[in-house]
Every structure is written in C-alpha cells, then in structure tokens.
Symmetry: C3
C-alpha cells in the first residue's frame, strides 16, 4: 500500500469510484512530468451536489462540494497512476469554478474546501497554485467544478 | 502532405485561416514539448456565431460553435507547426467556456462539439482532458470560447 | 540588479508587495521549466479595485484593474525567482477573468491592460497566449482576476 493510501485510511477517507468518460474526452492525460486531470464536479455518495452559492447553498455546504471535487480529482489521479499516489510529487494547480450569483464574493472560501483536502492528503506536496472564479452555472448544475494539474514521477 | 492533412481532406474539412493577433498577445506559445494556444472564439465562414445558450441558441447550434472554435485551434496549431500537424502527439487539454444563462446546465454537450472534432481529426491522440463551464458572456458575444494545450514533437 | 528590474525602474514601475497566502494554497509552484502563478486580483496602492464591467466600471478603469493583476503576477514571480526576473524566458499564458454583466462584450479590451504591461516589461518575451472570459463575480468583488504561466530558466 502506498504511503498516501495508508494516510487516506488513517484519515478515514475512502476514494470515490473514478467517473468513466461519457464523451470524446478522457479523465486525464499525462504529458512529460505532468498529469492533467479533467474538471470534476461535486459527485458524492448521495449523488451530485447541485446548487448556487448566494442563492440555494451556503458556504459550508459549498466547501463540502469543493471537497468532493477534490476527492474525485484524487480518484482520477489514482487510476492514472495505477493506484500509486506516492508518484505525485506536487499538486501544481487547481482551477476552481463556483456556481454562484453575481452577489456572491466569498469564492475563495468555497474553493478552500478543495485546497484543504489536498494538504490534508498530500501534506506540503499538496500546496498548489490556484485560480478561483464564479460561473453562472456548471455542468448538470453542480455547485462546484475543479480541474487539476499534478507533477508526477 | 502530412497524414493529418490527408485525413482532413478525406473528411472534407478545410482549416480556416488562422486569426491574426490584434493586441499584445499571440495566438500560441511553445514551451518545451507543449504548445499552448490562445482561446479561440466561434469565427466561421459566415462570421462570428454569437449567442447565448438557454436564451438565443439551442444545443445543436452551440455544438457547431464549439466545433468552429476547435477548427480555429487546429488552424493556429498548424501555423505554429509550420503546416505539419503530424507533430501533434497528443491533444492534452481543452478549456471550454459556454456563453449561457444561469438556467442552462447542458454545458458538456455543447463542448462535445469540439471534443468530437479533435477525435475525428486526430484519432486517439485527440482524446484530451478538459474543463467545461458557463460564462455570462464571451469576447464579442461569441457563443463559445475554447483554449488548448497540445503535446508536440 | 537584473535587466528587467533596471527596465522597471526606467519605466517608473514599482512592484507591489507580493500578497501572502491566506489558505492552503500558495502563490506559485515551479515544475520543471514552468512557473505557475495563482490567480491575482486587482489589489493596488488604494486597495482592491472592485467593480463590474457593464455596470459600475468603464473599460479604461477595467484596464487599470487588469494592469494591477499583472503587476501582482510579476511581483509573485519575482519572489519565486529570488528577485531575478531575468530568469523569465517567456510569459507563456495569461488566464483573464473579467467581472462583468451579461451585456458586456468588450472582454478582450479589458484584459489588454495586463497583456500590454507584460510586453512593456518583458518585451517580446512578454508576448503570451491567453484566454479571456467574463464571470458573474470574482473573489472579494475584484473587477479582474488573472493567473499566469511563465517559462523560466
């Protein structure tokens, strides 16, 4: 078992099943030392967390949605790396999109739900660059979407 | 003639003229084995496809707009690679932005118009990671904007 | 003093203080020959330039906001490179996000405020690929957010 998988177990985190591609794109592409993972939405054990910040969802719930996106990103990376998450040497970048009204400004706090998980799981290797913006909507009405770039060995 | 150009001919696809830069940015930058192409909007033979999904444009038309963006991305790559599209070893990532109302959720279906074209043209090398989100508007009112990262040799 | 710092002095440009991280993400990550810098908002000497294009801010002011984002990106790169901006061999990509209403189409002109600064500071090495889109809002209500990727030696 990889050190990261052992750490996930200790944290009580079970990775979700990586979603299969449903179109002519793929969940991840590796190029050189980079693993580029497609935008993941907030699918979790109870289905998709739909909602709009500033209207139908509060910040704490939005952070849970962002955390689910991050778990799905790690699940995809796990498939890409044949189950060896220790091959991740750095989380390079997260691109965070929040389904929000024009009145909602606390976009960074929502995406922190994903950033915090990355550091919880990967430690200092989980500290990443990121962008965080609002969108009028996201695929299937998801509250959050996040894509990622990992440095891998 | 490169194999991809021969395949484009067989598909009956004529690449559009790559749009010239109109400001202090450029259509593409190559760094190491990556070719980064600027966001392309839905310019086609009949001008720009303007519109908003969920309000003034249906999904099938939006997919055509996404396809135009993808054609423009390939046209830029063709210039960057001096006409040899066989140098593309992998379409790494598409970033898809759909001009849409807050009610519109079928964002992935629209961007599929671009993803499908990449696989039509490049085969398995065309299968890419992607993110797809909605925006309240896009440059000049374009219905879709897509940027790309290619792996090149 | 690096050549770029001498040029900044000649231009009369003082780099802002790079903003410290306020969460589990970091201002930049270096991977291989790439420096990935987190999205910067329009903090300037008079605080944050808040506003929405098409509603409370005109294009010229939006360009100033974009310029501030670019200055903050360069300030972060300066920290990442231990004060030697000559290590930047190419500005690879800017991702530009404009806080705008659905009626506002002049998104590229706003982001030109950042693109122009990059060329003013770095010359031809400053010519970058970019994407530019609108968002219903941005962190803390900033008028513009821009993230960046630099090629570094």
């Amino acid at each position: 078992m990889s050190a990261i998988h052992a750490h996930l177990k200790k944290l009580g985190i079970t990775l979700p099943k990586a979603a299969a591609p449903v179109a002519n794109y793929v969940p991840f592409v590796r190029t050189g030392g980079l693993l580029v993972v497609s935008g993941q939405i907030a699918f979790g054990p109870d289905g998709l967390m739909k909602g709009r910040l500033g209207l139908t969802m509060d910040i704490a719930t939005g952070q849970q949605a962002a955390r689910l996106c991050a778990l799905n990103l790690i699940a995809q990376a796990n498939v890409a790396l044949d189950g060896d998450l220790d091959k991740i040497t750095q989380v390079v970048r997260l691109g965070g999109f929040v389904n929000a009204t024009a009145d909602f400004e606390d976009i960074p706090h929502v995406i922190n739900g994903a950033s915090d998980l990355m550091v919880e799981v990967f430690g200092d290797k989980g500290r990443h660059a990121r962008a965080a913006v609002a969108c009028p909507n996201l695929p299937l009405g998801s509250a959050v979407e996040i894509d990622a770039m990992f440095e891998v060995k």
